[in-house]
Symmetry: C4
Subunit: 230 residues, 4 copies
């Protein structure tokens, strides 16, 4: 079942590794089939160089039960499932421990919008979740990780913000499908790195004005976008 | 028309990516035909691995109208056009979001001349423009980006300064042709990185003395230059 | 003798270099045959590109005497021998001068647990030894290097801590065999780098709560681990 | 003449570039024939990918006159010549603008000995010259660059110190021949990088004790060295 989505999810996982965002097995990409109610995701702890589409695991979006696949799904599957249910229109989700975005997550700070590179990607800062409470860690930890992300987006416009930092942990990013989610994770990593490099020149940088943020975000993503080809 | 210039511009765009100065589609190189009054530039948002000379777009230097090409020109084309008109003798222009130069642009600071590597490239600091005003962002944003660069160069000697930082945005660099412009962008990136690394050892470094700046710049670029072969 | 272990040790040394943790000849991996009482280790100062299994040196775990091999064993062999005797269950040991872990060792500080990436690897900080005393440097320096590591682990649970920093020197890491020891050294290097990048955003970061450290370490390494395949 | 030395010098220049220490044409390696009184050096400003042994230039150690070769010698040739005359026993010299060593040179600071990696290479700090005076820049600049290095070594033991930083400029390194000089430049770059990374964790690090410096330097380079093979 879902052979094409398995192919896409497998290819996106391999691209995530090829882009340098994954060490060892620390990363995962999933895709969703909203009509059927399934999530297709990387198996847990399998080396990238042996990964094939048939290793992808199909789980129920609703219950998390494995519908197809011989391997255990990624241990982060409950987080992905919560995200698909909370973030309407999202078709692919990435989790990684990429260096620069994870450093920001470890500092428990949102990434301020310090330039047009950031504004081309995200309108406003890259948000950071609150810390999980001890009881949220003790039980249903992975689902609660999704819950604090959803909570953070209650007051944010999802269309403006393709990624989030989970405090003390690392980034999640998303897009229309698995490949777009990887592009978002790659862009987030560069935006995080640029912000770190800026801090080293000016330890207290001011965000760029709202007009410039809006201009760059909308010329690329707005209804009258004029970046790229039609 | 302008087949040779299209080849040069295409090759320079590919080199910009190969030098590691471009992520995704965030960069563009153009060349000018001053006799005919045309600018040849990369199309907007086209992946580098599919780029061919016939994709390059020819626009009027004066009006910006497309004279040849099926694709939309880079959204930064109005900036390039303003630069060619403001900067006499420049034959190629590069815009990039390269990591270290962009971090300096995001900190809204000129790069001071901290060593002979910088002095071999640029006589004096790498200048930084002022921020654009809200009304300059709202209308003709890309042309106004060129305008603040031109404004900054009103009091600078263009022959001494092959690059500029646009505040809150990123670098532009230029040269006698598209390939020389890419070399300038690559050198700028290394000079920016060296300055960042110096800051980390000494947070308040003093620029090198004027005599040493002059010596290095002139032995390479002055009338009695003795660096390289004749 | 011990042909299979020699193969493993040689391959692990080559992997250490391929992972970018070794410059020139500054690193070494060993394996132990606890039944026979032998350590198999890289020869001293031999280039990696010429290294073959038959160059590995077999020494007595007890006395350090060479039991087989035409070359001198690594000058750090006495440290490895002390570690095998002090750290029960360890089957492979790595020493490297990898950039980020060595920088922490040079700062004489343990690496605090700043995120889940660290907690997936080590329960608690990466410990740092005390400095050696002048008389410990003057005589039996390499054995004393092992001694200060063993001393540091007197009050630590070895199963929770797969690596250590020797103050003013660099990291040692270990595992069930030579290959697992290299994986530990690679992971340590990334954890050290992440901590350095976090410091640059927040110069005084707080470690993550004990609950989160425990959750991540145990879901991967505890008796009820659910990360990876069974 | 000197065909073998030309081969060595050419190969060493290519290795310098392959090791990542050279951008564009910013670096040069030379070798000396002390019996004949000649220096063999890279030509000025020639791209590395076209460089062949027959392009190397032979100049008189004493007068600097070109003895063989169709190309101009490196503009830094006078510095190399002064160094060969000042530093007895040196057979090869490298100059580079490598990132980390140049950043230290730009901060006008010696690199303190912060760990055993440094002590394995150099006994004591990597020294930094004084700045050149305006009149030393105005006339015979390149020879005076050699002069301030020689001046700095008047009170140093050359056998303990295989490299120097020229303030505001960059590193020079040397060895028994051109290849050994490149190894010294590569090691210096890593030692400089390690020191920069250490500063970021501890902004005021203390050098390691003299006993440990001596132990590491002498076990590798002293009369009773026991590192490597005999």
């Amino acid at each position: 079942m879902l052979e094409e989505l398995k192919e896409q999810v497998c290819r996106a996982n391999l691209r995530l590794a090829a882009e340098g965002l994954v060490m060892q097995t620390w990363g995962n990409v999933s895709g969703v089939d909203r009509d059927g109610g399934f999530v297709v995701i990387k198996p847990s702890g399998v080396p990238y160089d042996e990964m094939k589409p048939e290793h992808m695991v199909v789980v129920s979006l609703e219950t998390g039960e494995v519908a197809e696949g011989d391997l255990r799904p990624s241990s982060d599957t409950p987080t992905h499932r919560v995200l698909y249910r909370a973030l309407a229109g999202v078709g692919g989700v990435v989790h990684a421990h990429s260096l620069y975005a994870t450093a920001w997550a470890q500092s428990r700070r949102e990434i301020p919008c310090l330039g047009t590179t950031h504004a081309d990607f995200c309108f406003g800062p890259i948000p950071c979740t609150r810390q999980l409470k001890p009881e949220e860690i003790a039980e249903d930890y992975e689902a609660n990780t999704g819950k604090v992300i959803a909570e953070r987006f209650a007051s944010l416009d999802l269309k403006h913000t393709p990624a989030v930092l989970v405090a003390e942990h690392g980034p999640f990013a998303w897009g229309a499908g698995p490949d777009e989610a990887v592009t978002a994770a790659v862009t987030l990593e560069q935006v995080a790195r640029l912000a770190s490099e800026t801090l080293r020149i000016d330890p207290s940088p001011r965000p760029i004005p709202r007009e410039l943020q809006e201009k760059h975000f909308l010329r690329k993503h707005g209804p009258d976008a004029y970046y790229g080809q039609t």
